[in-house]
Symmetry: C2
Subunit: 367 residues, 2 copies
């Protein structure tokens, strides 16, 4: 095995792009000026100042449409428990975030898989699913999809919001990568297109500040946010006021935007290096080139066993997540590569280790 | 109404006893030395260094017996969801913490009320409940009870642990006030007496550092902690690593112990002032004199309506929580006074407002 393992497995940035000095300075300022809020119990919505900031960031929501949560995953878990019951039909993208599948399976809902296309959810398949019976909720990751890397087109966003109003289902717009497009501005959120109260949006500061702060949020119709924040209060009184106060200081000081620019640059370099290395070293790989975020999803030739490849790759000093983790069925010849944790200069070496492992498994059991 | 409302309602310290300078210094040190752990995803147990510290604080648990949680309330909520199902018989003290009743009611368990005595749980009533059918879990607040103010005696602790082994039920030792006895050392935990793996202990830094940090923990048998931390990881990946890193810095630097000494002194002054004012101004009040913590529970003459008193008191510039909130049945002539939020010099004025309101409701509807 050549040197340390190169890990494409975890959806997390490497430590060198965590803004620890900015967070340290923000903590000092927050605990000088905002300490009473930071150190006291809050209520279910968390820090009111951060709710207000998020509302403005979304182009003028009312602050009562926002609640801060201990990361967006737990926000989603509370939302699922609040809205869903056993037997409800819930649309999930295929592939989709493995932790979402786990949370939904725990609730005993009926998962309705809809395949992704290069520009997001396959609408024809979605409409077939709708025709087969009522949908209670559709879970959609619109930007820089985890794991698929694709971004939902503007036209599809508009159409999904129309369908939600027409067929009365919830859209859970699970959007942690929205602030990380490599070029230009993010597309409009479905939340901003929703005039009938069918969209609940979730996002997070995990990718724009740091995962360890565990600060995310939900935004949606006032009545649902009120019910969810009551549930949050009953479960944990308030989310983490100290971390929220520090995040708010980063937001207000402009450090958040400076860090987003820095992180986008680093992620783009990593993504470019990964794409170049794959094209050179694994030319059979098919993938959508990510326009932002952390992830690239690739399909190898039919018949390739990604789980066997992973086992072989680990022995060769590289790791990733095999496709089946993100699928209800299938994904055998697919893998998710997270480029966020791998510095650009290690990318070629990492891909060459995967390519070598691929050669070895094929040599061991020729087609 | 005479000046600002004096609130005996909330179980939270007034801002003047929050250690904001110590937390600010700890944050600076944590984000200089421990920033990679503070800002990265952790796993379900939270900060491993803080698990280790808690294990040592409890006189030598193994670190694998401890998991850090986003406050102890959410830790308890996860524990209840993990251990309990609809119909399970669960012993609750009467009175008990209102939020615990809410969480248990949400799960559809059968609540089995057992009255408190001056030295904690009434064991005779508890044994009657045990004889009537299997108990799945007993929820016990051993020290400076919320709301009752009493502390479970050493003999009762030992007996409860014996009964748990004999009858195979869980003891949930919910112990946020353990570090706040006004005199001497806290009694031994039931966790420390448990040789058969029937006790899960919860505590918190809300009362020793600050509520806003939302850092608590569970400690118990290795296998249960492993299952619970897996559940935690599935729900929120990791608890708040940033806040835990700051708390650990307070623990290691000795600031935590200095703050505990300071807070105990302030709370004792407040409690002494409250007891003196009650004896002088409301001599009919019966109560256990608290030996620590935040709360005093008092009974007024039979027939007094504490809810009517509360409504009248609010108009007179003072507030508290009426007894029925903490009871499955009863509590009509009782109230909980939290002395933690009321500076000692306001105590006499606060009690005089309650006494005046009591006179007014009695004048309005004479017995």
């Amino acid at each position: 095995m050549a040197g340390e393992t190169i890990s494409f497995a975890r959806g997390a940035p490497s430590a060198d792009i965590l803004p620890h000095e900015a967070v340290r300075d923000a903590a000092a300022r927050a605990l000088a000026g905002d300490w009473e809020t930071a150190l006291s119990y809050g209520v279910g919505i968390g820090h009111p100042g951060l709710c207000q900031w998020v509302a403005e960031r979304h182009g003028g929501l009312d602050a009562s449409q926002v609640m801060i949560t201990n990361g967006s995953l737990e926000g989603g878990a509370m939302l699922f428990e609040h809205l869903l019951g056993p037997g409800d039909r819930v649309v999930v993208e295929q592939p989709t975030y493995d932790r979402t599948l786990l949370l939904l399976q725990r609730l005993g809902v009926e998962l309705v898989p809809v395949p992704l296309e290069a520009d997001g959810l396959g609408l024809a398949a979605f409409e077939v699913a709708l025709a087969e019976g009522p949908i209670k909720l559709a879970h959609i990751i619109p930007n820089a999809h985890n794991p698929a890397g694709c971004t939902l087109s503007s036209a599809k966003r508009a159409r999904l919001v129309e369908l939600a109003a027409e067929h009365d289902f919830w859209i859970f717009e699970d959007d942690p990568y929205r602030e990380l497009p490599f070029e230009g501005e993010p597309l409009e959120t479905m939340l901003s297109l929703d005039a009938t109260g069918h969209v609940i949006h979730a996002s997070s500061f995990s990718k724009t500040v740091s995962p360890g702060v565990r600060v995310g949020y939900l935004a949606g119709p006032v009545e649902e946010i009120a019910k969810l924040s009551k549930r949050a209060n009953e479960t944990y009184i308030s989310p983490n006021m100290l971390a929220e106060s520090i995040v708010l200081e980063l937001c207000n000081s402009g450090e958040l935007d400076r860090n987003i620019d820095f992180v986008k640059g680093a992620l783009k370099d990593r993504c470019d290096a990964l794409v170049a290395a794959l094209r050179e070293q694994i030319p059979e790989a098919e993938f959508v080139v990510p326009e932002g975020g952390y992830f690239l999803w690739l399909d190898l030739a039919a018949g390739t066993d990604a789980s066997a490849l992973l086992a072989e790759a680990k022995g060769g000093g590289v790791t990733f997540v095999a496709g089946p983790d993100f699928m209800i069925d299938g994904g055998e010849n697919s893998l998710r590569l997270s480029f966020a944790p791998v510095p650009a200069e290690q990318m070629s070496e990492g891909v060459s280790r995967i390519a070598a492992a691929l050669e070895r498994i094929r040599a061991a059991s020729p087609a």
